[in-house]
């Protein structure tokens, strides 16, 4: 028996011992212990990733997480993986550093987020607060378009992008994703809650429709904007299929595509692409922690009436 097995058995034993005395406390404890166990298991790969990124290849095969204190030295823990990762790599187009891919990903994900935030909210406002001929038919069409899985469009979209001459260009990634039915519905849902009297008052004061949208409606649906930004940024940041198909020049590639490449390049030194993976997780994590509340409420707003 090892320490992990003993620990699990002790946790279970406490539950069994508590049960006859007070089932209420036993279940309260059991619930907490179970959640603690699940939470630890879920976070374990992250802890392992952080440790591995800083370990040398030798240390990695010896220790699961960090080596014992007596073994910690520059020989086991250092920045070697990051140094290899961040050093300029020779390519056909000249040396490219890892920061280039980080910048590419940051630019693409931010651009896509801003553009789709603007167009989706604008469309959502038109659907929520304007009456116009064909509105219901239009919404039915949008809903129907959402039921078609994206993969059916993969092959024909490739042909469309090729015909437009957009291969190997960021246009191929930004323009098709600039606005979608999902985002428009998300904003429509949030904007339905804005009182009509408020909009009428602004109109009577001579406010233009665009100013009503920008200065009255948008500040009122801020939580939804936050959720949408996060969903949209993470989608773009993690996108692999489209960038992998449309981008060719090495210096234009995004992080997911490059990390996939590096798995082949650094087969024996996986610390290097693990370090890259760790760096790639930081921006979405920062965004998530600053928008966490909005995210959870935005995520479930379509499925549950709050």
């Amino acid at each position: 028996m090892n320490s992990l097995q003993i620990f699990v058995l002790v946790l279970a034993a406490i539950f069994v011992l508590l049960l006859p005395f007070s089932p209420r406390i036993a279940f309260k404890y059991g619930r907490f212990a179970l959640l603690l166990l699940v939470g630890t298991v879920m976070l374990m790969p992250f802890a392992w990733l952080i440790c591995s990124a800083f370990k040398t290849t030798d240390a990695m095969s010896q220790y699961s997480f960090l080596p014992p204190l007596s073994e910690i030295s520059a020989k086991t823990i250092n920045l070697g993986n990051f140094r290899t990762l961040l050093a300029p790599q020779p390519t056909v187009q000249g040396p490219v550093t890892f920061w280039r891919y980080v910048t590419n990903s940051l630019f693409l994900a931010s651009a896509l987020t801003m553009v789709s935030l603007f167009f989706s909210s604008l469309g959502g406002y038109a659907l929520a607060k304007h009456r116009f001929a064909g509105r219901n038919l239009f919404m039915i069409y949008m809903l129907a378009s959402m039921t078609i899985p994206g993969v059916v469009l993969l092959a024909p979209n490739f042909a469309v992008i090729w015909r437009l001459g957009w291969m190997d260009s960021y246009k191929a990634l930004i323009v098709p994703g600039a606005v979608g039915a999902f985002g428009i519905f998300l904003f429509r849902q949030a904007m339905l809650g804005v009182p009509n009297e408020l909009i009428e008052a602004a109109r009577i004061d001579g406010c233009s429709e665009f100013r009503i949208y920008l200065q009255l409606i948008m500040p009122l649906v801020r939580p939804m904007s936050g959720a949408f930004c996060l969903i949209s940024f993470m989608g773009a940041w993690n996108a692999f299929l489209a960038p992998n198909i449309f981008l060719q020049t090495q210096s234009k590639l995004t992080l997911p595509v490059v990390l996939n490449q590096y798995m082949g390049t650094y087969v024996q030194q996986y610390g290097v692409f693990l370090a890259g993976t760790l760096l790639a997780m930081i921006p979405p994590a920062i965004l998530f922690f600053s928008l966490q509340k909005e995210f959870i409420s935005g995520l479930t707003s379509g499925a549950v009436k709050q």
């Binding site: 604008l122 606005v179 996939n260 979405p284």
Partner: protein
């Protein structure tokens, strides 16, 4: 104030202007939808009947793309793998998500937020990064997964996961479970928090046990959300690609030894972009759409009827 004051004129002016406004605001969507959805969708239908070599050259082949795909042993493999994955997503991962949501759904718990965050955290990471991470976690001897397995059960240290064609699908299912269990839990948690507490109290007063309350009060109340989660999980499962493709990058070039990790979208990718036959790719796309449509309709009927009966 005269009759023609700005206060009365503005609405009339607005009415004239406003007629065009919604169309103008929706124009970006209409334009992009036309070029990158409607036209490609029609084009996909045409393309499926052509054999292509890259986007430039093509020849009409009738239904033979469809008959080729439906007879191709690789497609059968892909369909089987994807279906297994979908079954485990629904049958194993969703009950776990519901279980975790019920564990979390307690009143006055200071740690609730921390646990919720810990369980949801893997979802911040994209499928690609999860694939890269787990490709190393599953390494024999050094990988954390095998070490943990050995510490708990004494077995599994030397187990090849990604190199053994029998264990590739279980490995994909485990990685996907880590990634998505928290995502679906959030939906169940939101649904559980919306269950009317008075109903539960009333059932308790009537002498109903916890099992009875779960089946007759909680299940009907969360049925709409459950339907939503089951249907979206199935649709997502059938479109699985990036996770196995990256997980298996160094084992069979992204599809696993003897295609043991090949999914339907992987098969589409192979045909359309590796071999350059967009026509076959379009045909696979339509077959997949048809499969997803049939399964979703059946699920909505089944889950819907469970919800309305009880």
């Amino acid at each position: 104030m005269s009759a023609a004051s700005p206060a009365t004129r503005a609405p009339i002016g607005w009415r004239l202007r406003s007629r065009g406004t919604p169309y103008l605001f929706l124009f970006p969507y209409v334009a992009i939808n036309l070029v990158f959805f409607l036209i490609p969708l029609i084009y996909a239908t045409i393309l499926a009947f052509y054999q292509t070599n890259g986007p430039a050259r093509r020849a009409y082949v009738g239904w033979s793309n469809f008959t080729f795909v439906l007879k191709d042993p690789d497609f059968h493999k892909a369909l089987w793998n994807t279906t297994i994955f979908a079954i485990f997503s629904i049958g194993l991962q969703l009950p776990l998500s519901l279980g975790l949501a019920m564990l979390l759904n307690a009143k006055n718990d200071r740690f609730k937020g921390i646990f919720r965050l810990a369980i949801f955290a893997p979802n911040l990471v994209g499928q690609v990064f999860v694939g890269v991470l787990f490709s190393v976690l599953f390494t024999p001897r050094y990988g954390l997964f095998n070490r943990g397995l050995q510490a708990l059960t004494g077995w599994g240290l030397e187990q090849q996961w990604l190199g053994d064609s029998k264990l590739v699908m279980p490995a994909i299912i485990i990685a996907a479970m880590w990634m998505y269990v928290g995502f679906n839990m959030i939906y169940f948690l939101a649904a559980l928090q919306n269950v009317d507490q008075n109903l539960i109290e009333a059932a308790k007063i009537d002498g109903a046990g916890p099992g009875h309350i779960f089946l007759n009060v909680i299940v009907p109340a969360i049925a709409p959300v459950a339907t939503f989660v089951v249907v979206t999980s199935t649709i997502g499962s059938y479109q699985l690609f990036e996770l196995p493709y990256n997980l298996l990058q160094n084992n069979g070039g992204g599809y696993g030894p003897s295609n043991s990790g090949l999914t339907i979208v992987g098969y589409l990718y192979q045909n359309a972009f590796t071999n350059g036959d967009l026509g076959t790719g379009a045909a696979v796309g339509w077959i997949l759409t048809f499969i997803i449509l049939i399964i979703s309709l059946v699920q909505i009927r089944i889950v819907g009827s469970v919800g309305s009966e009880t």
